[in-house]
Symmetry: C2
Subunit: 245 residues, 2 copies
DNA sequence: CATGCTTGGAACGGTTCCGTACAGAAACGT
DNA sequence: ACGTTTCTGTACGGAACCGTTCCAAGCATG
């Protein structure tokens, strides 16, 4: 348990491209519209990409790392409503007629890289290209699907199964089978007490689906996690492939 | 308990307009772009407005009634991911680059009236008017906010408090303090067993927040319901007012 | 090495909620 | 009027999960 061995794991539908998948899906013309304004930025774990209520001044297309979209309650307790990585971008409310971010968005799990573009440049670009706008809105739509599945899983499934789902969502967005996350991190997504996270992790470990070491989760059997997550995993990912291939 | 007395109730931020609020918020020019194609339709409780997976052929702007947006799991258990009425429309995925509906949408609580427009007509209209597109996307955005709060409330709150929230969402969308819904209906939104609904209703009744009669809930003390719902009620409604006033 | 911080493991009783089952009450059809 | 269906109330044991507390292990810092 002390040393971290390289675990094989089933590397199936993982995101492999180095850069941002959404930008990669753009036509050359659309890419040309925004690429002059894209500027690389990097974040460390815990950094805020946007703050709830703040004006959206930039949009960030991630190349690496995981961004957690958090909603807060009573100004203290916070919960994740969704997750995104190199398959998407942060700031979509701007394309939907809102100039302020409704959510806190922070870096999770690992350091992140992104390409940043000023809000007004992106607005100008989507006004010139309908296909660009559609591509970006498609991501927002798929994020919405993810939220829907989050609702369903929180209503229908046990902590263990919901945890399996979140591990998969993380796994899809990191390059390795090793995911850095503490029990406290899981609390954001599951909304349970920390010891319940411990218990659920142990159960997943007993089933040989993962191995947990300090501040890390190693994905051992991805298929088993998918089975546990059931219908709450897969549909948004499948729709992403259909609409943004 | 047998007879339904007229209950005063606090009629605060209710939706009063007869027609669709979103259409009402359009500029004369934008309204002119689509009104030639709007056709009145009506639904009874249980009718499907769209089916999951089916192509979006029409969009529906509701004038009366409540539409429940349902996600299904394992082909049998279904759960509500959101609710809308005369403040919105059904079919927004079309504006976000998806030609199929990801959800079942069905009529809840009471019979509904809507103005229906063929998909291609609406697409043509939003291509002519950026402000029309923005207005419609703003509704989709606010629906997303509602979904976010649904996630948070399901993670943080007891059945009783979550029920208070859903009653408010229904109350906002009907013209009266009397809401037709069976315990089974609540199950869609809370994801609990039917008897838990009974218990939670009794608790809300003890607190004089509502009165429950067969297949109906009477809102007695709206302020009390708002207090129970806490931060999970109000924010999307407030953003609607800000962005679509 | 000494110290302090973060993270994880384990335990306690208590509460909420579940699954199931059954029965009464109200509406409905004929 | 009568049976049927729908809706609601209630009760039982049991499972899941909570809040709390305490302690141990890993890690960083000086």
């Amino acid at each position: 348990m002390a040393t971290i061995l390289p675990i094989s794991g089933t590397v199936s539908s993982r995101i492999k491209t180095g850069g941002n998948r959404l930008l990669g899906a753009l036509s050359p013309n659309d890419a040309a519209l925004i690429s002059p304004y894209l500027e690389p930025v990097s974040f460390t774990v815990g950094d805020y990409i946007t703050r709830a209520g703040a004006p959206i001044e930039n949009l960030c297309f991630f190349e690496q790392g995981i961004a957690g979209v958090l909603d807060s309650l009573d100004n203290d307790r916070r919960y994740a409503v969704g997750l995104l990585g190199a398959e998407g971008f942060v700031g979509w409310p701007l394309l939907m007629g809102d100039d302020r971010s409704p959510y806190d968005v922070t870096m999770r799990a690992e350091a992140g890289r992104a390409l940043r573009i000023p809000a007004e440049k992106l607005i100008a670009a989507v006004e010139q290209s309908a296909t660009l706008r559609t591509t970006l809105l498609r991501f927002a739509h798929i994020f919405m699907l993810q939220m829907g599945r989050t609702i369903v899983s929180s209503l229908a499934h046990s902590i263990e199964r919901r945890m399996a789902r979140w591990i998969l969502l993380y796994h899809d967005r990191v390059q390795a089978d090793e995911i850095c996350m503490t029990h406290e991190e899981f609390r954001l997504m599951l909304g349970v007490r920390r010891s319940s996270v411990t218990d659920a992790l142990h159960r997943l470990e007993e089933e040989q689906a993962i191995r947990a070491v300090r501040a890390k989760v190693l994905v051992v059997d991805r298929a088993k996690l998918i089975a546990l997550a059931g219908d709450t995993y897969g549909y948004p990912e499948q729709e992403y492939a259909r609409l943004l291939a």
